[in-house]
């Protein structure tokens, strides 16, 4: 059990921003050089701490977007309109700036090749970030575990990692757009509901490992649908963020 393992303190460490990537108008990836990073599992997160010159501090948690095999740790941050930390991370930060963080944190909402499958992922909005870490890991180790991802976004322009989220033999990627869609949109339209879940998800008899990440309403809907369809609640892992994430 992880709880019996001897653990050191999770120390704060300083990283250097080496690159910033605008994923969408509201989401930016921060590529970090972290000399003291000791590795992570896909799905884990970090705590970021900002310090103002008067000593005032603010902390928030962000999912790691990179695979353990990647050269750099990457965070993808969605800019929240009333946020305190996210506008700084996704707006103010420039390459060369230092960023203070600690991690990796969380051992529950993780998947790596040894975890098995098949895997069913449901991503709502920026809830796709931990899945990007899992899918990059899946590709890096050439995993043969079959994965299905359903990604719900407001509009095509809000889809993070659009160029990267391409289907392969093992990974099936489906999108639903909830507010606007192009005339020739071939994906799903509208919010996730039980019918959509039934159409895209692994059937109950395949006993998928289910991961759901997104805003509370999305997570509740996806988890409820999976349980009603007969999936074991004990195999459904959720990670939620409320409207005030920061």
């Amino acid at each position: 059990m992880a709880g019996t393992a001897v653990r050191g303190r999770l120390s704060w460490q300083l990283g250097t921003v080496v690159e910033l990537v605008d994923e969408t108008p509201n989401a930016r990836s921060i590529v970090l050089d972290l000399p003291d990073w000791t590795g992570h599992r896909p799905g884990q997160h970090v705590d970021v701490r900002l310090t103002a010159d008067d000593g005032y501090r603010a902390q928030r948690s962000y999912s790691i977007a990179s695979a353990p095999e990647d050269d750099h740790l990457v965070l993808t941050v969605e800019r929240l309109p009333d946020g305190e930390v996210s506008p700084y991370l996704a707006g103010e930060l420039v390459p060369g700036d230092m960023l203070e963080l600690r991690g990796p944190i969380g051992g529950y909402f993780v998947w790596d090749a040894g975890t098995g499958g098949p895997v069913q992922m449901f991503a709502g909005g920026s809830g796709v970030v931990p899945f990007r870490a899992m899918l990059r890991h899946h590709a890096a180790v050439a995993s043969t575990v079959p994965v299905r991802l359903l990604y719900s976004a407001r509009r095509l322009g809000d889809v993070i990692y659009r160029d990267e989220l391409t289907p392969s033999d093992e990974v099936d990627v489906r999108f639903t757009l909830t507010r606007e869609w192009p005339d020739d949109w071939s994906g799903f339209r509208g919010r996730l509901d039980r019918a959509l879940v039934e159409e895209v998800a692994w059937p109950v008899e395949d006993r998928p490992l289910v991961y759901i990440c997104g805003p509370t309403g999305f997570v509740e809907a996806a988890a409820e649908a999976m349980v009603q369809l007969g999936h074991d609640p004990g195999r459904v892992k959720t990670e939620r963020f409320g409207p005030s994430g920061g």
Partner: protein, 202 residues
């Protein structure tokens, strides 16, 4: 550490919030964010029971109506989630653990709370007695919503809120401390927000 985040100023410091009420690393929210590790369970009230077992002579059990018949208290407290939000002046109604343990003779020093869905969390017994913890079933004058842990959750406001187990159904009195769900995934065993005990080793 003397590190300063270049160009970070933070929100204007709030005049309406007493900084003495905010533990280190927390920020005040008016929302009530939801954080749970799995699907929200829905146990019908006529099948709901609350049990106290473990190091007791006889396990105790209350039906929903029996719990409702016990003396309840209104509790107004600040709550602090390990994910950094704090919510001030939240109002709850529930039955004190002291009331449930009235007359119980035990040598236990620890307690494990178990919820529908299998979630567990561990606490020292002295942290749920002496007017410090409740089984709460109303929030803001309304029945507690399932998303927030209804029909009833543990309320232990002096510790990070993952200790206030949602959908709580059982308290097991124990001689030995046993890490619960998040405590087994690297979160702090005790979880005092004022000492910022978020993760193991803090």
């Amino acid at each position: 550490m003397s590190f300063v985040s270049r160009g970070f100023h933070g929100r204007p410091r709030r005049e309406d919030v007493d900084p003495a009420r905010i533990p280190p690393g927390q920020y005040v929210t008016a929302d009530f964010p939801v954080l749970s590790a799995g699907p929200t369970p829905h146990t019908p009230l006529d099948r709901w029971t609350f049990q106290i077992d473990g190091e007791v002579d006889e396990p105790l059990s209350w039906s929903w109506s029996e719990l409702q018949a016990l003396p309840a208290e209104t509790i107004t407290v600040d709550i602090h989630c390990v994910t950094k939000w704090s919510k001030l002046g939240t109002s709850w109604r529930g039955v004190s653990i002291d009331t449930l343990l009235d007359g119980v003779d035990t040598t236990a020093e620890y307690v494990t709370a178990t919820s529908d869905g299998g979630y567990t969390t561990n606490l020292p017994l002295e942290d749920v007695t002496g007017g410090k913890a409740w089984v709460a079933f109303e929030y803001g004058g309304e029945p507690l919503e399932p998303e927030h842990g209804g029909p009833a959750r543990l309320l232990v406001p002096h510790l990070y809120f993952w200790k206030s187990a949602k959908w709580v159904r059982r308290l097991t009195l124990q001689l030995e401390d046993e890490p619960g769900f998040w405590e087994s995934y690297g979160y702090h065993n005790y979880g005092d927000p004022w000492r910022e005990q978020r993760y193991a080793g803090d």
